[in-house]
Every structure is written in C-alpha cells, then in structure tokens.
C-alpha cells in the first residue's frame, strides 16, 4: 500500500474503531510526566511526545507473570500447555520499543521457539509513532542505531505537522488502515516534507557513545577487570529495576503454584533479573556472580557484547529507561563511555 | 451452685489476652476480676522522640482490628497540634474509610466472634455445617468492607494512604462509583443480616449505666464530635477529654477519689445508639425497630444488635459519602505540613468505643508526650460491674453454662484487649 496521510484529529476515532476487533493498548499519563501503556479507548495528542513509558510494551507479549502449563495431579497426572492470547494493537509505539520487540522476536524464535511469546506476537499489531526529536535527556536511540526503523511494525506514523505521514508495512496494517480510519494517499509534497523532516532530525540526535556502536563488543571483551565495575559495585543497590524496565531483558524464573484444592495447579514464569543476588546461585552453594559489580558487568555485557556478538546488533535500544530508573544514577551511557575510555587510556599507557 | 470458682483463661474470640477470675463462696461473690494478661507494649514510650509524620505508623500497630481508627485519631491529634484543618475532601475520605472499618469490624464481630455462641459452637468453623449460607454472607460482607478499606486506605490493617492533611493517593472516581454500586447491590445481604440477628435469642438482662460517646448535632458522630455523657447530657470539648475520662478512671483506683456518682461507664455501639439515636439514618432506625432494639436500651448484650444497626447506618452513609466525593471531584492534596510546636488531642469513635490520642510536639516536630486512651480500657470496669450484677442470677446453673454466659457477656462488648493494655491500671481495681 502507498504511504497515506491520517489527520491528527482522526487518531482518536482510529483507536476507538480498532476496539471493535482488538484490545487497544496505548499510552496514558499515569502521573504528571510519567507514562504507561494501558488499555485505552481514545488517543490524546498531548501524548504524542511522551517520554518512554515506565515499562516497555513488551509486557503485552511477555507479561510479568504468565501461565505456561496447567496440570492435575489427581486422579492421575494430566498436563496441558497454556497459551493465552488475544488480538491486540499496540498504539503509538516508539522506534526504540519497536526495536526492542524486534530483538525479543529474535530471542524467542532462535534456537527454540517459544510458543507463549510467538502466539502473542502473532496476535499483535504494532502502530508505530516516529520521533522527530529526543523525547528526554536519557534517550540515546540514535547512538545505538535504533532511531531509524523500517521493519517490525505494521504501520508507522510520523507527524509532519497536524497530519501523520503513515507508512504501511504489512497486509494487516493495510487492513486496519482501510477499515478503521479515514486517510488519503500521500502526495509528492507530503512525501518530500516527510523525507526532509527525517533527514533534518539527524542533527538533533547526537551520538552519545564515544565510538561506533559496532565496536562495543571489542571494548567489553577486554573490560572484565575494568575499574568501573568496582565503582559500580559500591554504588549499585542490587534492586533489579534496570532489568525490569528494559525492553530487551527477557530472563525469567519458573515456578509451580498449586490450587487450594491441592490436586491441580499451574506452572508459571515470572520476570527475573540478572542483577539480583541469587540469579546465578546453585544448589552446591556457589554463586557464579556473587557481587553486585559482577552482576552489573554481566548485564552490560549482555547488552553490548554477548548478545550483540551472537545476533550482530546492539541489545540496548537506547530508551534510557535503566538510567532513569536507577535510584543511584548509574547511567548506561556514562558506563559505556567509561569502559571505552579506560580501555583507551590503558592502551596509551602500554 | 453456692461455691464456685472459675479461672477463665485467655478468653477466646476476642482480640488480645484477658482472663476472668470469679470466686463465689456461699452464694456471695468474693472475687470477680477481669485480668488483662496481654503484655504491655509501651506505645507512649515508643512514640517519644519520633517525628510527627511517623507517629501514625506506630499507633496503627496498637491494634490490628481498629487500625484505621487509631491512624485517623493519631493524625487528628497531630493536626490539632499543628493547628491544621484538613479539607472537606480529606475529611470525607476519612469518614468513608472509617465507615468501612465499622462495617468490617462489626461484621467480623457479629458473624465470626459473637454468633457461634448462639449456635452452641466454639467457632465460625463449627457453624459452617448447618449455617453455611449465613457464614458465607458474613464473609461476603466482610470482603466488601475490606475492599472498600483497601480502595481508600490501601489496605485495611495498617492503612497506608492516611496522611497528615491529606491522602497520599486518592481513589479514582470510577473506582468509587463502581464500589457504590457494589454497596447498593449488597443491601439485600444487609437485610438478611438484620433478619439473621433478629432471630437470635439475646439474653435478657438490664443494668443501666452511664453511656459516653462523641456527639454531633447534624450527624451520627463517628469521625469527630464533642464528648457526651448520658448522665448529664453535658457535652465537652475533646481537648478536655481528661476531665471526662480521668474522672472515671480514678474511681477505679483506691488511691484516688471519685468525682462522679458512678464507678463505671460504657462506650461502644450501644452507648452511641443511646446518645445519638436521633442522628441515625432512617434505615438504621427501622432495622433497630425490626430487631427489637428500643431507645434507650440498658441490656449490654444488645450491644451486638446496636452493632447491626450501626452497620446498616454505615452502609447508607458510605453511599452518601461516595456521592459527595464524586460530585465534588477529587483533587490531589498531597503536601508537607509542619513541623510546629504544640499539643493536640484527637478523639474518634472506634467500632468498640471512643478513642483518644494526645500528642505534644516540639518545634522540630518530635513527639515529647503521648497518651492513648483506648475504648476497651474504658469498658473494663463496666464489664466487671455487669458481671457483678449478673453472676448472682446465674448461680442456679451448671458451671460450664455460667462460664459460657460470662464469656458471652464479655464478648458482647467486643473487647479488644491488645489495644487496651496500656491502661493496665484497671487490673488493680479489686485488689
């Protein structure tokens, strides 16, 4: 489908109409200046410039708690897998979060397919909303190559001044545009305006990382003994917030929960966090990452080295949530730059 | 039974630990005492030196059942020390929360602690067999009240949102209106409750005493009011509470002199009913009528029935409060208030009677003095006097039956002994 134009004032109706066939999740201001994704029935354009939500929209694909199995132990053992999913639309997702979902797609499809995630993913339509300027001080999407995006959404809307220039990426996207909103085909003039705005924005998103992002695995490979981990060890509270708010963290715990009848129950998974103390503790008493510094080092390596090496893309999408949420101001960019600088200084000395 | 001795240890189905000692020789009562064996907890000392904003955290832990009332009263005392008057919205939210606590506490007491006595069983678990529907009704009503507490206060036991001058978080108007609907839908269950308690056979016994409660001209006083005595009808300011309360405390003590004719008084549902009947919601009055509770009433066992009446009242009152809150719209009122040097007294009706907190603060807001007077402590002397007058009438019964009757009377007061322990002075009355 050709690019289309949707008027700002029609977005609310769009949201509303989508509810005929989907649950619509969009952004809501929970408290002044703090946003969350929640079920919405209209879109208010005051939210167009929202700062990243407290939790990323991954919670609708990989919820905080999720049932995997149901079982009966009496009269005899029976097990059923449980996959809960409903047709849903994520409305107004930012590029960083779309990238985040794209990375989860990789994680949950490669090696072994996770049907609990994939079924929800298949039932989800993503309506993106592009960013023309950094949404807040912690954003560093451009630095990790996650500002520009041309995949991972069904439609993407860009405000080109009162009207949204809309790229339709998938057949499902085309279907909802045709069915649920008033639109016109974008003309030459609008396309040009759109392209110009896109290229103009570049200057506003500066590169905060003091190297090419693709170099990062190299820096991190040699950073196991970097003094930064010692410093963070003293500062980090081990509270796990950076993990919980991150759009690309996906670790989980699995546990059984019996019903009160004690003859049936379910197996569930729940978000876990690699910065928590017993994440890597085993029954023999060892804890393979026993200090907060080591655990944080692991987390940073996952974003900029381990997973990045395996999948050839940064696993930090630049939303800045971890920096914002860290009570003791551990800043992802500062930390990455410290690793780079310490490395360079070491080399100079050598 | 002319000679009779009973040590009723750890009276059950009440909150806190109390024992009753009765010694009857030759048909005459030689000893009759309600000992409080609950450990004293020294709250007045615990609060000392703490910052005014923390006090409610501490006082709430005096009692898990009336945590809302303790928190409210504490905050009122602090606000009065700070010379701060909360907004209408805050007061209405507090009243709503208090109504919810009344419903929850009364229902708990009525269905779970008092009712088993009438069914000759030791606990609500024993009632499940023959009266499952009644038990479940009690549970549903209690859940309703608990959830209303949670909506307004965060949780029922040790509420979170009650703050000096405000609520840390307001309920959403939508949540309130949803809840209103639930209360309205539960009116039937309330009617059933009235029928249920109407059919229970309340023992006949009368002993007129002095009834003390808060009072207000234009509402059934729970949240605030002047202190009223049924004897004189006189109303005094809460800040002068010691004139009223001390007066009767000292009558128990051999060391001090009585200033009043009476040596005990009653607080609680029946006292409020007797003092403030006019202000009851019409529906509550109707239910009183239906259950045979006439105004005034001097049968302490009827305290249970007065509790049912109050529950009906609180149901209706909650609905009105929710309507008011929604129509006025809820504003965020969160703010810092104080510190400031001062003395303040707060008085609130707890489900089981009038509660007083007094605090003195220094200029940095640290507590320099605290005094808490708890309803059950005020009732203890009256319970003993009731027992003194009822025991002689029971002496023709078997010991076990006597004990049941005595425990029932104590339970009718809905005593919360763990709250009361800081007023241990009562223990020495009859020594």
């Amino acid at each position: 489908m050709k690019d289309v134009l949707i008027k700002g004032k029609d977005l609310s109706a769009f949201c509303h109409n989508l509810q005929d066939s989907f649950i619509v999740y969009g952004v809501r201001e929970k408290e002044e200046g703090h946003f969350i994704f929640d079920e919405i029935d209209e879109f208010s354009d005051s939210l167009e410039k929202y700062k990243p939500t407290i939790l990323p929209p991954k919670k609708y694909l990989f919820p905080q708690q999720e049932t995997l199995l149901r079982f009966d132990t009496e009269p005899h053992l029976e097990i059923k897998s449980v996959v809960e999913s409903k047709k849903q639309v994520l409305f107004g997702v930012r590029p960083c979060d779309i990238h985040g979902i794209g990375l989860l797609d990789k994680i949950f499809t490669s090696d072994n397919e996770d049907s609990n995630y994939l079924r929800k993913r298949a039932d989800t339509l993503i309506i993106g909303m592009d960013c023309m300027e950094p949404c807040y001080e912690h954003a560093h999407c451009a630095s990790v190559g996650c500002l520009d995006i041309d995949d991972g959404y069904d439609i993407m809307m860009t405000d080109i001044g009162g009207v949204f220039f809309t790229t339709v990426k998938t057949p499902q996207g085309e279907e909802i545009v045709k069915k649920y909103v008033e639109y016109t085909i974008a003309g030459e003039e609008e396309s040009e305006r759109f392209l110009k705005l896109r290229s103009d924005r570049k200057g506003r998103f500066d590169n905060k990382i003091e190297t090419e992002v693709s170099n990062l695995p190299l820096f991190f490979k040699n950073a196991d003994n970097d003094p930064v981990w010692k410093e963070l060890d003293e500062r980090c509270l081990g509270c796990g917030r950076c993990n919980i708010v991150c759009p690309t963290c996906y670790c989980f715990d699995v546990y059984d929960c019996m019903d009160l009848t004690m003859t049936s129950g379910e197996r569930c998974r729940e978000w876990d966090a690699c910065t928590l103390k017993d994440f890597a503790a085993v029954s023999t008493g060892e804890n393979f990452r026993s200090t907060r510094g080591l655990r944080l080092r692991h987390r940073f390596n996952r974003k900029f080295n381990y997973l990045m090496t395996k999948y050839n893309t940064s696993f930090c999408v630049g939303c800045g949530r971890c920096t914002r949420s860290c009570p003791v101001n551990i800043d992802v960019i500062e930390t990455v730059n410290a690793v780079i600088n310490n490395h360079n200084n070491n080399h100079e000395r050598e | 039974m002319h000679d009779f001795h009973a040590d009723i240890e750890h009276i059950t189905r009440v909150e806190g630990h109390g024992n009753i000692v009765i010694d009857v020789k030759g048909g005459k009562i030689r000893t009759l005492r309600m000992d409080i064996v609950e450990s004293p907890r020294f709250f007045e000392a615990m609060a000392l030196g703490r910052t005014y904003s923390e006090v409610a955290h501490i006082t709430s832990r005096i009692c898990g059942i009336c945590a809302v009332t303790h928190t409210t009263t504490s905050i009122k005392a602090i606000e009065s020390a700070l010379d701060f008057n909360p907004s209408v919205q805050t007061i209405k939210l507090r009243k709503l929360l208090l109504n919810a606590e009344f419903i929850q506490s009364h229902i708990l007491h009525l269905y779970f602690l008092a009712a088993p006595d009438f069914f000759g069983t030791g606990s609500v678990f024993g009632m499940v067999g023959d009266n499952k529907e009644d038990v479940l009704r009690g549970m549903r009503l209690k859940t309703l009240a608990n959830e209303l507490c949670a909506l307004v206060g965060g949780r029922h036991i040790h509420p979170i949102t009650l703050k000096i001058g405000c609520f840390s978080k307001n309920p959403e108007p939508r949540e309130l209106s949803d809840f209103k609907k639930r209360i309205e839908d539960s009116r039937d269950e309330m009617d059933e409750t009235v029928k249920f308690f109407k059919n229970l056979k309340i023992p006949e016994f009368e002993r007129e005493t002095e009834y003390i409660s808060l009072t207000q001209p234009d509402e059934y006083a729970l949240y605030d009011g002047k202190i009223k005595s049924s004897d004189s009808g006189e109303e005094i300011e809460t800040s002068d509470y010691l004139d009223r309360v001390r007066e009767f405390m000292v009558t128990h003590s051999t060391a001090k002199h009585a200033k009043s004719k009476r040596d005990s008084y009653m607080v609680g549902a029946l006292a409020r009913f007797n003092n403030n009947y006019d202000q009851l919601h019409p529906k509550a009055k109707e239910s009183a009528m239906e259950m045979g509770l006439r105004h005034p009433c001097y049968n302490p066992y009827m305290n249970n029935i007065a509790q049912v009446v109050e529950t009906v009242h609180c149901f209706e009152e909650s609905i009105c409060l929710i309507d008011d809150l929604i129509s006025a719209g809820l504003k965020d009122e969160k703010r810092e208030i104080g510190p400031k040097k001062g003395r303040g007294v707060g008085a609130t009706e707890a489900p089981r009677g009038t509660l007083y907190h007094e605090h003195k603060l220094d200029e940095t807001g640290k507590v320099t003095y605290a005094n808490y007077i708890i309803p059950t402590a005020q009732n203890l002397a009256n319970i003993e006097n009731d027992l003194l007058s009822i025991v002689p009438t029971l002496l023709n019964k078997q010991k076990e039956e006597i004990i049941v009757d005595i425990e029932m009377l104590v339970r009718a007061y809905d005593p919360c002994i763990s709250c009361a322990t800081h007023l241990m002075k009562v223990e020495f009355v009859n020594e």
Binding site: F71, D256, F288, N301 | -
Partner: protein, 275 residues
C-alpha cells in the same frame, strides 16, 4: 503454531524402579509413557517435573543403548530432588528432553580416555562409560578415576567393581576421608593424575565434578600437557528452562543448556565466569 508442542510441556514418564545408592543419592529408572524410542547422547540431561513442586535439570545416567528406560542418579539437595526421592515405583512425573548436546563422542573415537569423576559427577559420566564399554573397540585405553568424600558416599560401587574386573579398563577410586574398613586409596582425586602414564596427543580427559574440583584437576592435566581441546567438562548452573530462554545458566556469551552442558577447556578458558 503447534501449541501442544510448547517448549515447556513435559511428557509423562513413569518410575519403573528405584534404588537408594547412598543416603543422599537415589537411582531412579523411568519409562516414557507413550513408549516412543528414547534416543540421546551421553551427557545430555532431562528437565524433570514433580508437579506442584517444580522442575530440575538432571543428567541421564544410563546407557544410550538402553532405549527402553532412562536411569537417573539424583542427589537430594532441595525441593524437587527431595520430591524425586520420595517417588515410588508407578509414580508419574514429567520429563522434557533430552536437552543439551552431550559429550563429543565422535571426536573421542580411537583415543585414550581418562574419566575424572568427583562425587555426583559420576552420574553423567556413567552414561558415557557405558557407551564406551559397549563400543569398547572404538576406543583406545580407558582409565576411570573416581573420588568421593568418604567410602559411604561412593556411587555405583558395584559397577566400579565390575569395571575394575575387566582387563581393558583401569579403575582407580579414592576417598578424601577413609574409615577403618577402607582398603583403597585415600586423598583428593587430583593426586591420582600425576601417576598416570598419558600420551597427551591422543588422550581425552572427561572431567565432571563439583566446581571446586575443576581448578585443581585442570592444573594437573595441564602438567600432563593434555591439549585444551581434549579436556571436556560438564558444568552445573542454575537452570530454569533448559532451552536457552530463561537466562539463568548463561556464562558470558554462552548458554550451558544450549551450548553445553559439556564444554572443552579451550572454550571455557575464555569465559571469565566459567570456572
């Protein structure tokens, strides 16, 4: 999507026999209910479920040539393992697997093999040993070193004895703390290595034991100049899913469940958190 093929859905298996090996260890033999043939490589593991309690990764301890039943050796350390100890014959439990890759048996063919098992480490090794014995001609010299804390904790003592009887296998057993009836060797397992006569280029050392053991055994093997690629170790990590998702068993860039649980020392050397 094949939902009933969910990654997390176990098959039902039945306990067909059990044997208490020591106070802490129990041998459990299972049969998958819908009797499909059960193929696996030595060194692979299962996720065992006791429903209501949870799931735990347990290595397969029986011979891969036995396709009928699966043998497991379970040490009682926590919830699931204790529940497994309580299962009686006929009880049902859940099984996912086989998971992981197992030992690189193909590469080991025609080589001398030294097994170094510490304590429970014999559990996964037993499967490999049985494989090697079954295919005895495919392998050159075979040496089994086994160390236990004390004589009472020796696992599969009868089998060790059988293997010892064979001319074509050398078996050395040592205990850290001997008692008065113990006639064998004493001292930690590392002390057995210096006495071995090894030809480094054609030797594979397969080491499985508690994490503390690895460091010292590696030192000895390095003295013997065994190539890093030929030292194979099996790692225990916390593991929730066993299928490369939950993140718990991650060591630097690798997942123990997906990439292991057996690794060559060459691989592990570069992983700062591995040993």
């Amino acid at each position: 999507m094949k939902e009933n093929n969910s990654l997390f859905l176990p098959e039902i298996a039945e306990v067909v026999s059990t044997r208490q090996l020591t106070e802490m260890e129990r041998y459990i033999e299972l049969k998958i209910k819908d009797t499909r043939e059960f193929n696996f490589n030595p060194g692979q593991f299962l996720q065992l479920s006791v429903f209501g309690i949870g799931e735990a990764p347990i290595s397969i301890s029986s011979s891969p040539f036995n396709r009928e039943t699966i043998g497991l050796c379970v040490r009682r350390v926590g919830d699931v393992t204790s529940a497994l100890h309580k299962l009686e014959v006929g009880a049902c439990l859940g099984v996912r697997g086989p998971l992981g890759n197992g030992f690189p048996v193909e590469k080991m063919k025609n080589k001398d093999i030294v097994f170094v098992a510490g304590g429970l480490g014999i559990a996964p090794l037993r499967s490999l040993i049985q494989y090697v014995i079954e295919r005895r001609d495919d392998f050159a010299r075979i040496t089994i070193l086994y160390g236990a804390k004390n004589p009472g904790e020796i696992l599969f003592a009868d089998e060790l004895e059988c293997w010892k009887q064979r001319k074509d296998i050398e078996v050395l057993v040592t205990v850290d703390k001997p008692d008065e009836n113990w006639a064998g060797k004493s001292g930690v397992i590392t002390r057995l290595i210096p006495h071995l006569d090894l030809e480094p280029s054609r030797t594979y050392a397969v080491v499985v034991g508690p994490p503390v053991m690895y460091k010292y055994v590696l030192l000895e093997l390095q003295i013997k100049q065994i190539p890093e690629d030929n030292i194979i170790m099996s790692l225990e990590r916390r593991m929730k899913c066993g299928v490369g998702k939950c993140g718990h068993c991650q060591i630097n860039g690798i997942y123990v469940c997906l990439d292991g649980p057996e690794f060559s020392y060459h691989t592990l050397k570069f992983l700062s958190e591995a040993i």
